[in-house]
Symmetry: C2
Subunit: 107 residues, 2 copies
């Protein structure tokens, strides 16, 4: 089982590479189409903003995806960062061992 050594892709990077670029949409285009401020999209594609549930709904509608797609990308990104930026959570007591049989995959 391999461990990730680098953060998963930021949802903003996916948005930029796989949606905005192919459709020749500028940050300004996307912002006005999604009915949010330009700042919100700019921060997102520059990996300084997050996909909130509201944004996930807008993106899903705009690009014909599920909202879960965007939230899952954000979740993976956040989880990786938090698990690597602090180890306080490792001090939590183990109440219940997980079964190795049922847990060959970390997800």
């Amino acid at each position: 089982m391999r461990e990730r050594t680098r953060p998963p892709a930021h949802p903003g990077a996916i948005l930029k590479r796989h949606y905005l670029k192919p459709l020749h949409l500028t940050v300004s285009d996307a912002a006005s189409g999604l009915k949010v401020s330009r700042k919100t999209i700019s921060k997102l594609v520059n990996e300084r903003g997050s996909v909130t549930p509201d944004m996930a709904l807008r993106l899903s509608r705009a690009f014909g995806t599920s909202p879960e797609l965007w939230l899952n990308l954000q979740q993976s990104y956040d989880l990786w960062r938090v698990s690597h930026e602090s180890r306080a959570w490792e001090r939590a007591r183990v109440f219940m061992e997980h079964s190795r049989l049922l847990a060959s995959n970390s997800a």
Copy 2:
């Protein structure tokens, strides 16, 4: 395809029913084991708090689950609420129609 008319289970309800109760763990027990305040667990179990990435890591360690389990429960709950509490996101422009072929399931 059926639409949910009620919110998905709150992660705190799952925690209470499927983890705390079966293990006879009190809110206080869980709080001290997870190394968080009693308030944090109390709020969560009473559906007035959220599972943050940090909490997901603690819960996953304590109960032998994946952190994603908890974050996915929270995500589903949040998404349902936001999509039902506001319809502003529906004003987002459709840039790209989704393919019915690829989107027979909403997720």
